[in-house]
Structure formats: structure tokens, C-alpha cells
């Protein structure tokens, strides 16, 4: 087989305020026709720059291609004139972006957009284009293609949108796909589906794929060959299994370790500390108002009867796909929302019956670390004022003492103390998350809510942040509620795990029980959807059909029945009760109720 796609001696520079910087320096990269090549690297390694350079979409300035060749079927893209490259961009190379929402035009239906593409590229009439469009949508396994044609992008879920984008690229006759972290914003169960689809296209339509990601696990499942990108250079490459089984470079080993997270929190099983937080039958419904008099016509049942208990020093993990009510639950516990009903007892006191003054004091004891470290820090303040904000509110210190304390907090999370005189944008994502953590800890809280603390930072920094959190927990005797859709993160940190689906707890138990012996079909699906290094074939990945139903029109009976692979008649009729599995392990599924199963 000849080399379908090849990069030779490519050098790309960036001109910045500080001077010229080399961001990409690739000696050789070859992808054969019909193969998939995975490129792995941290953010800032130059992955996206490469993708943009191939398509010649790189902004120049500040970017500049210094030297090198990019060959597609023997033609050099670097020196190709703009009008010719435009043909290639649409017809031969297609790009799948991270965010499918911004790639689709929100004011046209899916059908209109895809038909336009077909008319333009295949020179057919509108009538002929329609069946082709439906066929294409079928090819990407979009359920109910006829109906989807009439929908607008916002009416589809993230995974469905990504499928539409792929269908559009296919209908242009694209043979070479550049997928830039196509599953980054998707839930694991959906992610598995997209991975499978990409693999299928490769096998059936002989499409060539350049897959860009920061997660080695993802790439290892989807690609034939991989390359590790670090600071713009490919430091290691080869057949996927070879690289994973026998990594040579130190950096590759670190990346591999970051995927296979070992258990960080290894602590004694018996925990008889006092209860710090008790949540009893908590409900939070949001009203949907309509009509002239703003009458409430329906309720969004975001959190629907949650019960949980946390002891001092414990780490409770909450897992679930987006839209399952994790964040609403936490916001309600933090009293950022008023609950519809139910109680939250913090250290035995009901939070919803406190006076304003008492509440302010209690709030100090419950802090939160947000997911996105780029927007959780005020960009106009110096780090000293960000970390010190809680001190200013709750403690009356003179300036020198204040500064000393801030510096101490800064070193506690492993950052240099001179950093307090800098702006947040001068720090990397992981460092910003450390700043957010030190702000949360500055008032000595008892309970810290970690809302996806690692999901928007690099894999390597993720590991370090988790270790830091564990260290701080021990030193400061903290209690954590850890929310994440990444099960490996939750498993490595927590003692107890709650799996949520559509506002309800479907399974609860100790971290090991849930991990080793999951009972609820949803939990099982979640686990098997994660690509692991040991996953050899993509077929081993588990996918769930469809997306999470709306919390307004809940399915009858069991909430999971619309997507459950093991559903039977009763599931549609009756909502399952919590079933005891063993010691502290409970799950709500009819399959666990022996009486029912035997019948």
C-alpha cells in the first residue's frame, strides 16, 4: 500500500508577544489508506495546530509554516493554491470538531443542511438528494432518520449532532477524517457509540482517520497506530499494541499510568465518625411556566427524592451522565437553590431553617471547587485577592497577616508563593484548579464539594490534582463529595459511590462493591463504556441506545427502562424499590428482587 497521507519535516512557528516559538516540529508521519492514526498529547502539545495546518486553516499570523511538506495522495497541501485547497477541504478531508453545536447552523433543520451539502457536492436535484440524505443518516446509525431531518440542531443530543456532522462529511465524499477530540464533551455511553461508528466507517467505507485526543485509552481502542505528541514533536510512534505494551519514552509511561489509575484513597474500612451531612428525601423541581399569566404547566424533576449520609472523613462519589441531576443536587445541598421539599442536615442542623446569619456561617464550612478552572477565577483579580476572598469576608486580618496566610495557602497546594502577585491567566489549567482548591480551603471548611474537579484539565495534571486532594483530605481532616462522570476518577478517590439516573439514585454502595460487583444495568453499562488499555476490540465497549429522556416527561415505571438492555414487562409498569445486595450495597432494579425474577 502506498502512503496515502504523509507529513515530512513540518515546522510551524507562532509569533507571540515574547517572541517566536516553535509549536510543531514533525519529522515524519505516515498514514496508509484506510488506517486510523491516533495522536495523543496534552493540551498545548500542538494537536489542534496540526489539524488546522493540514487543512490550511491556521491563522497566519500569528502562525507560520516555516518548512516541510504535507502530502495527500502525493500532492503537497502546503504549496497548494487557496482555491484548490478549498475543494480538498470539503470533498476529501473532513474535520470533526470537539463541539458539534458550533459546527451546525442553528437556524436550519438538519435535513436542510445535509440536503444542501448533497446538492452542492453531488450535483443532484433536491428530490434526489432527499433519499441520499436519509441513507447517509442511516449510515451513521442516527435513530429515526426521517424524523431527525425535520429537527433543529439544538433538539438533538451531543452524540446525535456529532453523527450528523459525520454524515455531512460522508455525503461530501470525504475519505480522510480529522477528528479533533470528537467525544470530549460527550458522556461515556455516547462516546463509546461514536468510537464504534468511526471504527465502522473505517472498516466499511475504507475511510482514513487521524484521531486526535488527550486520552490514551480512547485512542488505543479506536486506532491502528498511535503517535505521542509532546511539545510539537512526535516522541514515540508505532502500532498501538506495541506502544502500549512496550513503551520506550518516560513520557509515554507517565501517560499510560495516568489512564490506569490506582486506588489513591486506601483507608480503613470501619468509619464510625459522626455524621456530617444527612440528606433526607430531597426534591428539587423547577417549574415550567407558560401562557400569559405564567401559569406553571409542568415540572422538571431534577432531583427526585434523594437520601444519603456522609460521615466525617469520607469521600462520597456521585456518578451519572450529564442531565442526571448531579449538579442540581449539589447546588441544593449548598443552598444555592431552595429545595422543593426534603431536608439537609449539616452537623445535625437543618440548613433550610437557619437564619441568614447562621447560614452564612454554615456556608463557610461547605465549600465548592468547580469544574472549569478558567471561569471559576475572576480574571480581573490578582491571585492573592482570589485566594484571600474568603479571608476578607470571614476574618479580619491586617494586610501583612493576610498576605502571609495567602502565601501559606498557595504553598499548601504546591504553587510558588510569588505567584500570588500574578493574574489567573498566567497559570495553566491544572495550576488554576490548585488555586481554586486553595481558595475553597482558606476558610477551613469541613465539607468540600468537588464538581468534576479534573474533567477540564490534562490527564497528567489530573493525577496530580487527585493526589493533592487526597493529601489535603488527610492533613486537614476534610470530607469530600466528588462528582464526576469519569468512573476511574471516582473509584480512585471515593469510599462510597452513588450512581444517579434522572434525579434518582439507582445504585449505592462502597466504591469497591460498585466497581467489582455492579448490579444495576445502568451501572454496568457505564463501566463497560469506558475504553481501557486492556480493551482489545471496540466491540467490547458497551453502548446505550438513545439519550437520557427529558426530566419533564419521565418514562413510566422504572426511569431507565427506555434504554435498559434487560428490560421486561414489569419495568414499564412499576418503579423498582431499593434492593439490598450486601452490607451497604443497594440497587433499584426489578432483576434483584428474587420474588419477581422467579415469577
Amino acid at each position: 500500500m502506498s502512503n496515502y497521507f504523509e507529513i515530512k519535516n513540518l515546522k510551524v512557528n507562532y509569533k507571540t508577544f515574547e517572541g517566536t516559538k516553535n509549536v510543531l516540529d514533525i519529522d515524519n508521519l505516515i498514514i496508509k489508506k484506510g488506517m486510523s492514526y491516533g495522536l495523543v498529547g496534552e493540551s498545548g502539545a500542538g494537536k489542534t495546530v496540526l489539524a488546522l495546518t493540514i487543512l490550511k486553516l491556521l491563522a497566519t499570523p500569528p502562525g507560520e509554516i516555516v518548512s516541510g511538506e504535507i502530502l495527500l495522495e502525493g500532492e503537497n497541501l502546503v504549496i497548494m493554491p487557496e482555491n484548490k485547497i478549498r475543494d480538498i477541504r470539503g470533498n476529501k478531508i473532513a474535520m470533526i470538531f470537539q463541539d458539534p453545536m458550533s459546527t451546525l447552523n442553528p437556524v436550519y433543520t438538519i435535513g436542510q443542511q445535509i440536503i444542501n451539502v448533497i446538492i452542492k457536492n453531488q450535483n443532484v436535484s433536491k428530490k434526489r438528494a432527499l433519499p441520499i440524505a436519509i441513507e447517509m443518516l442511516g449510515k451513521v446509525n442516527l435513530p429515526d432518520a426521517d424524523n431527525a431531518m425535520k429537527k433543529y440542531p439544538h433538539q438533538l443530543s451531543g452524540g446525535q449532532r456529532q453523527r450528523v456532522i459525520i454524515a455531512m462529511a460522508l455525503s461530501c465524499g470525504a475519505e480522510f477524517f480529522i477528528a479533533d477530540e470528537p467525544t470530549r464533551n460527550l458522556d461515556v455511553t455516547i462516546q463509546a457509540g461514536i468510537l464504534k461508528l468511526i471504527k465502522e466507517l473505517q472498516n466499511e467505507l475504507n475511510v482514513t482517520i487521524l484521531f486526535i485526543a488527550n486520552n490514551l485509552g480512547l485512542v488505543s481502542v479506536a486506532c491502528d497506530e498511535i503517535g505521542i505528541l509532546k511539545n510539537g514533536k512526535i516522541i514515540e510512534s508505532g502500532k498501538t499494541r506495541d506502544v502500549i505494551d512496550n513503551p520506550i519514552e518516560e513520557y509515554t509511561k507517565i501517560l499510560l499510568e495516568s489512564v490506569t489509575k490506582e486506588k489513591i484513597g486506601n483507608r480503613e474500612k470501619e468509619n464510625n465518625n459522626k455524621l456530617i451531612l444527612e440528606v433526607e428525601l430531597l426534591k428539587k423541581y423547577f417549574p415550567i411556566k407558560d401562557g400569559f399569566f405564567q401559569k406553571t404547566v409542568a415540572w422538571i424533576k431534577a432531583v427526585d427524592g434523594i437520601e444519603l449520609k456522609i460521615r466525617k472523613g469520607e469521600v462520597l462519589g456521585i456518578v451519572g451522565e450529564s442531565g442526571c441531576g448531579k449538579s442540581t443536587l449539589v447546588n441544593t445541598i449548598l443552598n444555592l437553590h431552595r429545595p422543593t421539599s426534603g431536608e439537609v442536615l449539616f452537623n445535625g442542623k437543618n440548613m433550610f431553617k437557619m437564619s441568614q446569619k447562621e447560614l452564612r456561617k454554615t456556608r463557610k464550612n461547605i465549600q465548592i471547587v468547580f469544574q472549569d478552572p478558567f471561569w471559576s477565577l475572576n480574571p480581573r483579580l490578582l491571585v492573592k485577592d482570589i485566594i484571600g476572598e474568603p479571608l476578607k469576608v470571614h476574618e479580619n486580618l491586617n494586610y501583612e497577616k493576610y498576605l502571609e496566610k495567602v502565601k501559606k495557602l498557595m504553598t499548601m497546594v504546591g504553587l510558588p508563593e510569588e505567584g500570588v502577585f500574578r493574574y489567573p491567566h498566567e497559570f495553566s489549567g491544572g495550576e488554576r484548579q490548585r488555586i481554586a482548591i486553595s481558595r475553597a480551603l482558606s476558610v477551613k471548611p469541613e465539607l468540600v464539594v468537588l464538581d468534576e474537579p479534573t474533567s477540564s484539565i490534562d490527564v497528567i495534571s489530573q493525577e496530580r490534582i487527585l493526589k493533592l486532594l487526597e493529601k489535603l483530605r488527610k492533613e486537614l481532616e476534610l470530607t469530600y463529595i466528588l462528582i464526576s462522570h469519569d468512573l476511574s476518577v471516582v473509584h480512585s478517590m471515593s469510599d462510597k459511590i452513588i450512581v444517579m439516573y434522572l434525579g434518582k439514585i439507582v445504585e449505592i454502595g462502597s466504591a469497591d462493591d460498585i466497581f467489582v460487583n455492579p448490579k444495576h444495568p445502568y451501572t454496568i453499562a457505564l463501566f463497560n463504556a469506558i475504553p481501557k488499555l486492556t480493551t482489545n476490540k471496540i466491540d467490547e465497549l458497551f453502548t446505550l441506545e438513545g439519550s437520557v429522556p427529558s426530566a419533564i416527561n419521565l418514562p413510566s415505571g422504572c426511569r431507565f427502562q427506555t434504554r435498559c438492555p434487560e428490560k421486561f414487562k414489569l419495568c414499564k409498569e412499576k418503579s423498582p424499590e431499593m434492593q439490598h445486595v450486601d452490607s451497604e450495597h443497594y440497587a433499584s432494579c426489578h432483576l434483584l428482587n428474587m420474588d419477581i425474577v422467579q415469577k
Binding site: T16, F17, P62, L334, L336, R360, K361, R363, K364, I366, Q367, I368, F370, Q371, D372, W375, S376, L377, N378, P379, R380, L381, L382, E389, P390, V393, H394, Y399, E400, L403, F421, R422, Y423, A436, R439, A440, V443
Partner: protein, 297 residues
């Protein structure tokens, strides 16, 4: 740590940011040009009484023997119907226009920004009331308002300025409110709430500083617009009154002599055109630098 060191340490990062901003502003040729001309105009405005060649001719002096002379080495822009040096008058006019425009925009910001911030940050009924009040002012025809004010308080430059500020502030209130509503949802505001920071402090520490960039951009563009509006009001006789050397007023008087003294209307017009243009260019440049979305290092 000594006190000195503290100040240095706190100020240094701010200076660094300023340097980066200036560097970015300087990178764009149009913005650099705009900055240069704006600087020049400000210098002229500040130094006008000292640098004009015939300071005594600015106001009332009558030199019938030199009236309506074409531009020459002696009178760069020629002379007007009373024999006054137009170059001196136009330069002095910069001072008048600049001061009025700055005051009018400043007044509009002082009224509009806090109202908008309060509306956006509070939401609910407060938001509704304040914004409907704003709409009330927005729907008032600006020229009519100026005429009314002139009729009640007499036509002069100060009243024109007040009229402009009154019609202009709602735009700032709206801009600020829109910003505040979106900034309010940012995690750092939520974090501040979780910490227990008082509401008013959140508004001043977190919300307003993060909304100020678009206000600055809007203000720099509005200066051009306000100068234009003042000139129009003066042209209609509702603003500056003779013998004040205001650009719009000069053009208004020059109409009679347009056929045989082109320079009389052309030079003040050129200054209006240039001033409005460079402030708009500056606004565009500032937006590129201050808006985090377009800000690229």
C-alpha cells in the same frame, strides 16, 4: 516584607498587563494611526490657547479688511466673514468639542453603568422596573428632547451636553445590564456566593470589573458620535452660540458664504470627520484588545 515591596509587587503585574495591551494596540496599523491622531487632538485641545497663531481672533475680533481670505501662509485655513483666522478657531474648537464630548459621555456612563449593573445583578422586579424606565428614555426622540431643553433652559453648549447625556445613558445601562446578566452566571460569582461574600461586594468586586471592557469600547466610539451630535445641534442653533468657535456652528455660519469661500466650511468639516473617524478606529482597536474572545497574544 517592607511596605514598599508590597506596592511594587501589587503594581507590577498591572503594569505588565498594560504593556501587553499597548503592544497589542500598537500591532494594528489603523489603531496605531488612530492612537497617534487622538493623542494629537488631545494635545491640541489641552494647549489650544498657547499654540494658536491668532489667539485674539478666536472670539469677537472684527477685521473687515481681512474678511473671507483664501488659505495662505499667513492664514493656513483662510479667514471668515469677520476676518478671523479659521485655523486658530478650528484648533480652539477641538478643545470645546473634546471637553463637551468627554463630559457628556462621562455623565452618561455615571448614570447608566450603576443602574445597569444593579438591574442585571438583582434580576426580578428591580431589573424589570429599571429597564422599563430605561426604555422610556430610549423611546424619546433625542432632537426633540434637545429642543425642549433648549426651550426651557436656553440654547447653549452646556444644555446641549445635558440633553445628549440624558438621551445617551440608556445605551450604557442596557449594555451593562446584558453584561452583568451573563457575568452573574460565571462560576467565580457562584464561588463568591458559596464563600458568603455579601451581595453588594459581589457586584463591585466581581461583576462590574468584568463588564467594563465593552463599556470602554462603547465610550470611545461614542465620543465620535457625541461630537457629531453636538455639531448637529449647534448647526441647528440649539447648541453652541456665536461667537464660540464650535465646529458645527462654524459650518452653520459658513453656509451663506459657501459659493465663494469653500475653506470656511471645509476645514471645520474635515476636523469633525477626522475626529469621529479616529475615535471609531480607536474603539475597534480597543475592542480587539479588551475583548477576551478576540484577544490573542
Amino acid at each position: 516584607m517592607s511596605y514598599n515591596n508590597l506596592i511594587v509587587n501589587t503594581i507590577r503585574p498591572r503594569i505588565r498587563e498594560l504593556k501587553i495591551s499597548l503592544h497589542l494596540l500598537n500591532r494594528n496599523y489603523l489603531t496605531r494611526f488612530a492612537l497617534l491622531i487622538v493623542g494629537l487632538l488631545v494635545a491640541i485641545a489641552l494647549l489650544a490657547p498657547l499654540i494658536v497663531p491668532y489667539p485674539e481672533q478666536i472670539m469677537n475680533e472684527n477685521n473687515p479688511e481681512e474678511k473671507l481670505m483664501a488659505p495662505s501662509a499667513e492664514h493656513l485655513f483662510g479667514t471668515d466673514e469677520l476676518g478671523r483666522d479659521i485655523f486658530s478657531r478650528v484648533l480652539y474648537g477641538t478643545r470645546i468639542s473634546m471637553r463637551t464630548a468627554l463630559l457628556a459621555v462621562g455623565l452618561a456612563i455615571i448614570i447608566g453603568v450603576p443602574l445597569g449593573a444593579i438591574a442585571g445583578a438583582s434580576g426580578g422586579i428591580v431589573d424589570e422596573l429599571l429597564m422599563r424606565f430605561t426604555d422610556l428614555f430610549l423611546s424619546f426622540p433625542p432632537l426633540l428632547l434637545a429642543i425642549t431643553i433648549a426651550a426651557f433652559m436656553g440654547p447653549n453648549l452646556t444644555n446641549a451636553m445635558i440633553a445628549i447625556a440624558i438621551t445617551w445613558w440608556p445605551w450604557y445601562a442596557r449594555l451593562m445590564r446584558g453584561q452583568a446578566v451573563s457575568i452573574k452566571e460565571r462560576p467565580f460569582v457562584k464561588a463568591a456566593e458559596a464563600i458568603g461574600t455579601p451581595h453588594i461586594k459581589i457586584v463591585f468586586m466581581h461583576i462590574i470589573p468584568n463588564c467594563i471592557s465593552p463599556i470602554i469600547v462603547q465610550a470611545s466610539m461614542d465620543i465620535g458620535g457625541v461630537i457629531l451630535t453636538i455639531a448637529s445641534l449647534s448647526f441647528l442653533g440649539l447648541g453652541a452660540q456665536p461667537p464660540l468657535p464650535e465646529w458645527g456652528l462654524m459650518i452653520s455660519t459658513s453656509r451663506t458664504y459657501f459659493m465663494n469661500a469653500w475653506w470656511y466650511s471645509v476645514f471645520p468639516g474635515l476636523f469633525i470627520f477626522m475626529t469621529v473617524l479616529v475615535f471609531n478606529l480607536l474603539g475597534d482597536g480597543l475592542r480587539e484588545v479588551l475583548d477576551p474572545k478576540t484577544r490573542k497574544l
